[in-house]
């Protein structure tokens, strides 16, 4: 099988990673995230039709009138409809919505138009942030115990790297960041971590098997050995995500997009951030297997 020299290109990869992080952080600082209806709240409009109307017709009317992120629901009776818009409330919104709906030719009345607060409180935002930090600390601790603390640093930096870049993409393109997108970011953490650990596991196995001190060589070998697996798993996951992105409609569009970026970046970072970083912080064979102990072990082996 062909062997790729992954570690030889690490300087280029660091440069790419650094540039992506820089752009993402700048975007997050200067134009923030475009938070969705779940986070910002907006306007709620209740209307009553004279006769039942298909909700999809209402959606189309509102979208052609330029309203984005509209949620349309029946409200009790089939003639009563509740519309939520991601638009700051002002007293005229109700009338504007009614005007837009009357374009459909049906008789419709405004019952009420009011602002609605965000669906997620500050509590959720703070706790999610805290949760992510604790989760990362937990992962670092686990990896430090199961592997070695330098691996923990690699895994941690790779996670932060992935999360920042995914958020960065949302910020740069001002994509709607709602609860679904938040779920996607959490999923990226899980995915990228899994990928990193699989490669770490092979690196550990190879260090134990070989007596070589040439870490870049061992790393390359491990990455090449797991390459078929990496491609197969990323491949299946991307297949699912592409189906969701292309066919799934508005609701899961951003979820799928965040994950496609995340899976791509996560695969890249497993190789070039998590693993390559170990070389930068001076990972050596002795970190994994203390020199004197190693001889004793060898003696016991048959």
């Amino acid at each position: 099988m062909r062997q790729f020299d992954f570690m030889g290109k690490r300087r280029l990869a660091f440069f790419v990673s650094g540039a992506l992080i820089l752009i993402s952080v700048a975007a997050l600082l200067f134009q923030q995230l475009n938070l969705g209806l779940d986070f910002t709240g907006g306007t709620l409009v209740e209307v009553r039709y004279a006769a039942p109307v298909a909700l999809d017709t209402i959606r189309q009317l509102l979208e052609s009138a330029g309203y984005q992120n509209v949620s349309v629901q029946t409200f009790g009776a089939t003639t009563d409809v509740l519309v939520r818009l991601q638009q700051a409330f002002d007293p005229a919104v109700g009338e504007q919505v009614i005007q837009a709906l009357r374009q459909g030719g049906e008789s419709v009345d405004l019952i009420r138009a009011e602002f609605v607060g965000s669906q997620v409180g500050d509590q959720l935002r703070d706790q999610s942030g805290l949760g992510m930090l604790v989760a990362m600390a937990g992962v670092a601790l686990y990896v430090a115990i199961r592997f070695q603390y330098k691996f923990a640093i690699g895994a941690l930096v790779a996670l932060v790297h992935d999360v920042i870049i995914v958020l960065g993409v949302f910020s740069i393109f001002q994509l709607d960041f709602d609860l679904t997108a938040l779920a996607a970011v959490l999923a990226v953490i899980g995915y990228s971590l899994n990928d990193t650990i699989i490669i770490f596991d092979r690196i550990r196995e190879n260090i134990r098997k070989s007596r070589s001190e040439d870490m870049p060589m061992i790393f390359n070998e491990a990455i090449n050995q797991t390459l078929a697996r990496t491609l197969a798993t990323s491949g299946t996951t991307l297949l699912v995500l592409l189906a969701l992105l292309l066919l799934g409609g508005d609701t899961i569009h951003n979820f799928a997009l965040a994950l496609i970026i995340g899976v791509g970046i996560g695969t890249f970072s497993s190789i070039y951030v998590a693993s390559a970083l170990l070389l930068v912080i001076g990972f050596r064979r002795e970190d994994m297997i203390p020199a004197p102990k190693e001889n004793a072990e060898e003696d016991e082996l048959p």
Binding site: L124, A135, R146, D201
Partner: protein, 615 residues
């Protein structure tokens, strides 16, 4: 022998699969629109009452599919969604305040499945809708409560400075204090003015007395109201979480309303009772014989209205100071609520009880209720709301020793009441009373077209994974795909058993978990290929492939599981829901990816002399 499982392993896998199938099955049965009636207090629901309600419904041409009832609740299953609102109104009008009438979507799981404890997953607000409650926050009451607290503090201040006062009254947005003469008043005005600088002060003539009126400024009123709304939203979110309803929606609507939307909760009547509950506790000292009347109040006992007691008007602490609460039973088997106070509450309680050993202390249960009556006005039926406060002493005990921040209260009617009181104390109290102004069923927030698109994309995604595995691993791809199907069944079963709520992002999350779940098999199969390339005999290659891939799979999944568990324990609402799906997905995929796929390989080709492996 290599690649053979002992019989018990096959049996174990078979048992798990059968259990998975049974618990996943209820998801295939649709739900009925229903009206749920339940008694809130000690009242029972008689068979004859249920019959009467049923007759009234059929008189109104509402087709009732089935009625299920027991001693204190009844469920009327209807044939059509359109009748639900009308049926609710009919039933509600025939029953008095002791009963809660709520809209419901009742599952129709067959009895044999139900007897095994199987129930379908709830579908979220986006996929199926649910119940929508609009709650009005009583802003005037928020102001009155704030003024009462200030009045209590001012009375203490005046007493400690030995300024005599006659009376304190809260009226509208102001608080009036009556003094015997103008000298006392000016002294008090200076003292209070320093401590409460945000009020507008005004001297009034009260005939016999000199009156000082202090009014809230507009800015203060706005602040108090904003605080009341946001505090109430937080409390309602906590309550909904305590009810175990995932993926609910709680948001502010307009200046003084809160919307609560719950996806198909099973017991809407209980949900309504807990969401709308306004109960709180007050701890007050009993009056001494020599306490002046202006400082005391007569309150009746809750379970015996003829018995009353004189208690102080000043409140030591309220339920707001409770940091945690749980229920248990006392020595006589009666329900009790165990209470832990927060730091400030504990200090206040300790100070008050330390100097009053031997005196009585009353625990008062307060409920801000609203009566809703339909009245005819100008030939139209209009809802009228009359707010009223129910106050009753639930226990009056002698203080034996100084109380700290932990104690228990007894005197509650039933374990259910104790449970609900503990829940309310835990989730924090409401800063202002609330009452229901609207209750409707709400349709799914996603359009039918959107849902269909989503489901289609999910199916195609699954199909692509299946094809990919077949093409890449051929015979072993079949094994992986069968493992994937069992994984899906087990995941659905586990989520149903936990009562998880399924939303569109949740479905996408499940599919993603499945996409990632094939990872275990990919790792194993790639390893087997590697071992075959290394010229290992076929059976040994299979064995080594499973063995060596195992640590990788375990490490990878355990770290991800760790993340999920932490997110679950710290996160709230949607984050929690996601963590549940993720952790269940990891557990089921570990089982199917390793055990089930191995069992299939062992059963079909294990131990057989093979020349070539279709991998």
């Amino acid at each position: 022998m290599l690649n053979r499982y002992p019989l018990w392993k096959y049996l174990l896998i078979l048992c798990v699969l059968v259990a998975g199938l049974i618990y996943a099955l209820p998801n295939l049965y649709p739900e009925d629109p229903a009206i749920q009636v339940s008694s809130s207090g000690g009242a029972t629901l008689e068979e004859s009452q249920v019959e009467r309600l049923r007759d009234a419904l059929s008189e109104a041409d509402i087709a009732v599919k089935r009625v299920e009832s027991d001693d204190n609740s009844a469920l009327f299953r209807l044939k059509s969604d359109d009748d639900q609102l009308e049926a609710r109104d009919i039933v509600a009008e025939m029953l008095d305040d002791d009963y809660t009438v709520a809209l419901n979507l009742a599952e129709s799981t067959p009895a044999w499945l139900e007897s095994l404890g199987a129930a379908p997953m709830n579908l979220g607000l986006d996929l199926r809708g649910g119940v929508h409650f609009a709650l009005q926050v009583d802003m005037q009451a928020a102001l009155t409560q704030r003024l009462e607290v200030n009045a209590s503090a001012i009375r203490q201040l005046l007493r400690s400075e030995n300024i005599r006062y006659r009376d304190t009254q809260v009226e509208g947005n102001s608080l009036t204090l009556a003094f015997a003469n103008a000298e006392d008043r000016s002294e008090a005005r200076e003292l209070i003015g320093n401590q409460f600088p945000d009020f507008q002060y005004e001297n009034r003539d009260g005939g016999q007395t000199a009156v000082l009126a202090m009014s809230l400024t507009q800015q203060q009123i706005d602040e108090i109201q904003d605080y009341a709304i946001s505090q109430n939203i937080t409390t309602l979110r906590n309550r909904v979480n305590e009810l175990g309803v995932a993926e609910a929606l709680v948001q502010r609507q307009g200046p003084d309303r809160i919307v609560v939307e719950l996806p198909g909760v099973q017991d809407t009547a209980a949900a309504k009772r807990v969401v709308g509950a306004t109960a709180n506790l007050e701890f007050r000292l009993a009056a001494r014989p020599d306490t002046p009347d202006s400082e005391t109040e007569t309150i009746a006992f809750r379970n015996d209205e003829s018995r009353t007691a004189e208690v102080m008007r000043d409140v030591i602490i309220t339920g707001d100071s409770v940091s945690s609460a749980s229920t248990s039973f006392d020595e006589n088997g009666r329900p009790q609520v165990n209470i832990n106070l927060d730091g400030t509450g504990g200090t206040l309680m300790n100070n008050a009880t330390r100097s009053n050993i031997g005196r009585g202390m009353a625990v008062i249960y307060i409920d801000n209720k609203t009566r809703t009556r339909m009245v005819m006005e100008d030939g139209k039926r209009v809802e009228k709301r009359i707010p009223y406060v129910e106050r009753g002493i639930i226990s009056l005990a002698t203080i034996q020793s100084a109380l700290s921040n932990r104690f228990r209260i007894t005197g509650l009617d039933s374990p259910t009441e104790a449970d609900e009181l503990a829940l309310l104390l835990r989730s924090g109290s409401l800063a202002a009373p609330i009452y229901f102004v609207a209750e409707r069923t709400i349709g799914p927030s996603l359009g039918q077209a959107n849902i269909e698109q989503g489901v289609l994309s999910v199916q195609i995604g699954m199909l692509l994974v299946v094809l990919f595995m077949l093409v890449r691993y051929r015979a072993f791809g079949v094994v992986a795909n069968l493992a994937l199907m069992t994984n899906l069944i087990l995941l659905v079963a586990a989520m149903s058993m936990l009562g998880a709520t399924l939303t569109m992002p949740g479905i996408a999350g499940i599919v993603l978990t499945l996409g990632m779940a094939v990872d275990a098999n990919v790792l194993i199969f790639e390893r087997i290929r590697e071992e075959i390339r290394a010229k290992l005999p076929i059976q040994q290659a299979i064995h080594a492939g499973y063995e060596r891939a195992f640590t990788s799979i375990l490490d990878g999944n355990l770290t991800t599981l760790l993340v999920a568990v932490i997110l679950f324990s710290i996160g709230t609402g949607p984050v929690k829901g996601f963590a549940v799906t993720l952790s269940l997905g990891i557990l089921t995929s570990l089982f199917t990816g390793i055990m089930v796929s191995r069992a299939m390989v062992n059963l079909s080709i294990g131990g057989k002399p093979l020349k070539k492996l279709w991998i």
